[in-house]
């Protein structure tokens, strides 16, 4: 537009206007022509790049399927490794992973997000997905997790006088004054489990009925997912928070207080193929890989309780009632109140 107004302005001043106008016009024309030429060249370059990229993409993944997996945030590290192992065994499939709170993933799926497999951190979100008609098959439990109390390095330090905040050496200390406790939101699986654990502990005469009220009064924030809880404790802004046992594997800056198995929960993780999946076969393969010894081993390495036989109790209920049998299986590391699982 600037080029257009320029000759106009010169024409408006009589006198030398007639002599300079053609010059200016020629200059402008030349400028535009050169500009168009360079545009053409760069266009050609861009088009060439695009077709080249297309060729490369075709040659590398011409017959490659993409399997989209929506998985709970707590599965982040474990599923990343499992996807890599799965891709090694199935070179025709490439796995795309999306992690978030289970409830949010379910909501996204309900509103048209495209995925092939959904792995939830609790059965509630899977049941809701079932009710919405999202599932294309039975939900299969593939792992279990327990809760643990993460304590910030400062609050859990042996020498409590070194800092001004609360000191936490046992589950009872959580009820103390000035403790900053963080939970996941009560709709997030991790938050719901935490409330269950707190209520179970309050039923124990050792803690007393007022325990749950004291703990609830100490809550300073309800985070949108369990990673948020971990983050606030790791940074030392909060003194303690309820997280999954598996979360502590990837974190050195916090201490852990184990929750006794009687009061702990068994968070069962179900996985299912989604109804709208275009890759049903690969989706089934991924799920069977997950429940295979190899997949289970990776999950256990990341702090989950797998579903292999030695972990299950000898129960008269039979194998089809995994949900119940897991209540009794108990977490591997819950032996009373061990303190200082990991120190940073």
């Amino acid at each position: 537009m600037i080029e257009l107004t320029c000759p106009n302005a010169i024409q408006a001043t009589p006198g030398h206007a007639w002599t300079t106008a053609p010059k200016v016009q020629r200059f402008v024309q030349g400028f535009i022509q050169r500009w168009l030429q360079s545009l053409k060249e760069s266009c050609g370059l861009v088009l060439g790049t695009i077709s080249l990229a297309g060729l490369l993409a075709c040659s590398s993944s011409g017959d490659k399927e993409t399997l989209t997996v929506f998985a709970a945030a707590s599965l982040t590290q474990a599923f990343t490794e499992i996807a890599r192992a799965f891709e090694q065994g199935h070179s025709e499939v490439s796995v795309i992973l999306t992690f978030d709170g289970s409830q949010r993933l379910r909501l996204q799926l309900e509103h048209g997000a495209k995925a092939d497999v959904f792995a939830s951190a609790d059965e509630r979100q899977m049941d809701l997905a079932q009710e919405s008609g999202l599932l294309g098959g039975e939900a299969v439990p593939f792992a279990a997790n327990t809760l643990v109390v993460a304590v910030s390095a400062q609050a859990g330090a042996e020498d409590g006088s070194a800092h001004t905040g609360a000191t936490i050496h046992s589950l009872k200390d959580l009820a103390g004054e000035d403790v900053k406790l963080v939970l996941a939101h009560s709709e997030v699986p991790a938050g719901r489990y935490a409330l269950t654990v707190i209520n179970s502990l309050a039923d124990d005469p050792e803690f007393g009925p007022q325990y749950s009220a004291l703990l609830l009064a100490n809550i300073v924030s309800q985070e949108p997912n369990v990673r948020g809880v971990l983050q606030k404790v790791t940074m030392g802004e909060a003194d303690a928070g309820f997280v999954y046992t598996s979360d502590l594997r990837s974190n050195d800056n916090i201490l852990a207080l184990t929750v006794p198995s009687e009061a702990n929960v068994a968070a069962v993780y179900p996985i299912a193929v989604l109804r709208d999946s275009a890759e049903l076969e690969s989706a089934e393969l991924f799920i069977s890989f997950l429940t295979s010894p190899r997949g289970q081993k990776i999950l256990q390495e990341h702090g989950f309780n797998g579903l292999d036989s030695h972990n299950q109790p000898t129960s008269s209920r039979g194998g089809n009632n995994l949900r119940m049998s897991y209540r009794f299986a108990g977490p591997k590391m819950a032996h009373g109140l061990a303190h200082g699982l990991k120190e940073g």
């Binding site: 257009l4 509103h111 905040g165």
Partner: protein, 275 residues
């Protein structure tokens, strides 16, 4: 010539009006459709009124209004003289400060939240000295207000600075030569002339403070009645059902709209008064 043709086309008032109308229509549809769709979908909820008057919604709305009002008082009290100085001073140092003012605008809110924690958090730079004084900021309503001030103040300061720059120094000089004190001049001459810009800035800044989310959840957390403002309540409601979240969103939009429109009307009156 093609060029002159085009020039003539744009010179015609009807063509210019046509282009303007088309652009307006496109813009209004693009911005309006999502908002209208949200209103319609929310109004269709059976639980519309019960969600609207639920404890969570009212508590969050009250907290949002109170915290943002306090933020605005602080922003106006500190931001106005600061913006005036920015507008009048030619110091190169102040120009550096001027660039700094706009930094929160380009920061993602979550980054702003992390930065606030690094400054005022327990392990932050000012955390330990503050703790010695018995002040802990994270997870408090004060943290909500600080986060709002951080992200929302640039909108006010920018607009106020431009407003003060548009006030010719002649007016102030004349006032002072007539024996009026600098303070009184500022109050009776400069402020009224810059008022439309100040009000516009205040409206934008307030709307930004009310909708603040990222820095708040990082720095202040999410607890009903204490740090759970409307955007955080919407996020929490969304974990349960999108329906409740939609109703709360409508409430938030109506609240922000009321502020924008009211201040807009005041600003327009000031414009007309000045003209």
């Amino acid at each position: 010539m093609a060029l002159s043709m085009r020039r003539r086309f744009f010179a015609q008032p009807s063509a210019a009006v046509g282009v303007g109308a088309g652009a307006t229509l496109l813009y209004v549809a693009f911005i309006g459709l999502p908002v209208v769709a949200l209103l319609i979908k929310a109004a269709q909820q059976e639980s519309f009124f019960s969600s609207l008057t639920s404890g969570t919604a009212l508590t969050a709305m009250r907290l949002s209004l109170i915290s943002s009002a306090i933020s605005m008082v602080v922003i106006v009290l500190v931001g106005t003289p600061f913006a005036y100085l920015l507008a009048r001073s030619r110091s190169p140092w102040l120009r550096l400060v001027d660039a700094l003012v706009e930094l929160p605008l380009v920061m993602p809110p979550v980054v702003a939240g992390v930065a606030m924690l690094m400054a005022f958090g327990r392990r932050g730079v000012l955390g330990p000295p503050l703790e010695d004084l018995g002040i802990t900021l994270p997870f408090t309503t004060a943290a909500v207000i600080l986060a709002q001030i951080f992200v929302a103040s640039p909108f006010y300061v920018r607009s106020a600075k431009l407003g003060f720059q548009s006030v010719a120094t002649d007016h102030e000089d004349i006032s002072r030569t007539l024996g009026v004190s600098p303070w009184w001049t500022f109050w009776r001459v400069t402020i009224p002339l810059a008022a439309p810009s100040l009000l516009t800035g205040l409206a934008l800044s307030w709307a930004r403070a009310i909708s603040e989310f990222g820095a708040t959840i990082m720095f202040a957390g999410n607890l009903m009645g204490k740090t759970q403002t409307m955007p955080l309540a919407i996020m929490s409601a969304m974990e349960t059902s999108l329906d409740t979240a939609m109703v709360l969103s409508v409430l938030l939009i109506l609240g922000s709209l009321t502020i924008l429109v009211t201040l807009g009307i005041f600003a327009r009156r000031q414009w007309q008064g000045a003209a």
